[in-house]
């Protein structure tokens, strides 16, 4: 097992990466001195696989868990589902020292974390991410939230978990498409902050896709460390944390105009990162060949790098990008890369440049 500390003062916590961790959840929670009552929030995909085990380990550790199952998929990240969860917590009489366990992928982590952030003005929560994407990205850093019709994550909070347990065993049964989608974020860390990781992924992509245990351990722990570094440097995204949004402005826009659910998040940001790399060639001096290496790595990960977008939907895409959170003074701000491993945030990009790059990826 690897332990990655996230030192944030009184909000510090540890990310645990390893095998067989689900069964140890109860012990971990007991060490955190959490209240007796808790809610395990999961979804209709993950619940049938792991909820029994999680409820059992919590009970054995002396907790009183209540299981709440939300619909699988991005559509669960709504105010409506949050409202249903609140009602359950109130019925089950969860108190300020009670806690929420988020058992599932990024969607479950975001909705469960948001519910924990706002119920009784905030109660503790523990992230138990069961997808690659959630393990390397969304479960770490405390960003939680729900979507509005107008865009993704427009409502939310910063609420750090009390612990993150990444059980690599859960990746074994992850559908192929979900594993690949997670690689969208894994590759991102290489592009924005770690040229070595990028090179390693170029070399070991087949091992990753083959779910080699040692390789996954290394990759997940490395991504968590990178994410933790960024979060510690800038917890509430007033500066550097923005680099994590590489490829996300266009990615989120795509998710919004296509209706949440058509693209997995990792797929949308794969396209977004290819576009952001091309913007980086135009505006930040990224060598053309590195932009091409980026595109090729996404292709090798089996992720989409081109886009079907009817011309009349392009205006909707721009509108969706403009309601995204990364807008200031009405202007779109992008994360660009000077080189693989070195990102710049807050870069102004003209609509003309965005259009030119979109033209190059729309098929």
């Amino acid at each position: 097992m690897r332990s990655v500390p996230v030192p944030l003062g009184e909000r510090s916590y540890t990310i645990h990466v390893g095998n067989g961790l689900l069964a140890k959840l109860g012990d971990h929670c007991r060490r955190l001195k959490l209240g007796e009552r808790c809610a395990v929030i999961t979804d209709t995909n993950v619940g049938p696989k792991y909820a029994d085990l999680v409820v059992r380990t919590l009970k054995m550790a002396g907790f009183v868990p209540n299981l709440i199952t939300v619909p699988a998929g991005e559509t669960a990240k709504s105010l409506k589902v949050a409202g249903e969860c609140y009602d359950q917590l109130a019925i089950k009489r969860l108190e300020r020292k009670s806690f929420v366990v988020a058992l599932g992928g990024g969607v479950v982590g975001d909705i469960a974390g948001y519910v924990a952030a706002t119920y009784l003005r905030g109660i503790p929560f523990v992230q138990v991410p069961t997808t690659l994407l959630a393990q390397v990205d969304s479960s770490v850093g405390g960003k939680v939230g729900v979507n509005l019709k107008a865009g993704k994550n427009l409502v939310g909070a910063f609420h750090q978990p009390r612990a993150v347990l990444c059980d690599l065993d859960t990746l074994a049964s992850l559908p192929e498409r979900e594993l690949r989608a997670g690689l969208g974020e894994v590759i991102k860390y290489g592009i924005i902050k770690d040229a070595e990781l990028f090179k390693r992924l170029e070399k070991e992509m087949d091992k990753v896709l083959g779910r080699d245990a040692a390789t996954l351990m290394n990759v997940v722990a490395r991504c968590c460390t990178l994410k933790a570094d960024v979060v510690v440097a800038d917890e509430t995204e007033s500066g550097e944390r923005a680099i994590l949004n590489f490829g996300h402005t266009i990615g989120h826009g795509l998710e919004a105009v296509s209706g949440y659910g058509e693209y997995l998040h990792g797929e949308a940001i794969s396209i977004g990162q290819v576009a952001a790399a091309r913007l980086s060639v135009r505006l930040a001096g990224l060598p053309e060949k590195d932009s091409e290496r980026i595109r090729e790595l996404f292709v090798r990960a089996g992720l989409p790098t081109t886009l079907k977008l009817p011309p009349k939907k392009r205006t909707a895409l721009f509108d969706a990008m403009r309601v995204d959170k990364k807008v200031s003074g009405g202007e779109l701000k992008f994360v660009l890369v000077k080189s693989i491993g070195e990102a710049l945030w807050g870069q102004r990009v003209s609509d003309a440049d965005i259009n030119a790059v979109l033209n190059s990826i729309v098929v």
Copy 2:
């Protein structure tokens, strides 16, 4: 004008108490260096009176205000209304530096503050309370939230305003019942923290009810100072801040079982404080005569001190109290007073004691 500082590090702000402040809102916001776009959230009672003036002063100061009007009354503190506000903010393209102005009473402050706390994971907001209750209590300290069917303020956040403007002119047209309800919180400050204020209120209640300008200035500024002291000592209510909940456990329970809207908040907590004073006689050594002084002061303020509660509703009241936030380990925790001006928080109280006290106020 009086200025009351609330020193909370990077979340510090100033409460301004005085006359003619609404017209100066634009200047105040400019000094805070807030973004251009903003939303003025008000309700159907307050909007017709003051929204024009507020929108004008903001425009004159160079801002682009959007008016959002929510229904008047406690029922507006719902996830549904919050959702409608979010949609408006997204449509009007409010950004992270944009801000929300809460123009109205406690309900508007709570819902507008909650929307500001959660939209884009938190944007700035300015409180412009127009009722006595909001000026002395809910606008200060950053507690924001909405109600669930199961109880009041069960969903919320801690989100400090960037400034509070208490324009005493708005009290002149306040309906009599609302003024009296505000006195429910004013008297509370005397009971829990300021015996001098309590005595002054005993002497000057007629002047207060007559809306004497100098008296109101003194009382509002004093209450804001007391509240600020408590909030600074314990921003997120891990300890002392709980004393502000004196009378609120039973009060919130009453509001829940009677359906939000029958009692004004200040009325419900008036009954709750009379009950809490009697619990204090039984359990905390409060002299019987001081409990009686407390009851009399609420009577002089024209507030209810007895309760019509059908016997079969009493179970519902206990249930409602138990889902309140002030519960730990399943046990109800009360704020009691040893003497007028000296409160104890986190006091365990048995159901038997609560029942005995309820028997004494139910008519």
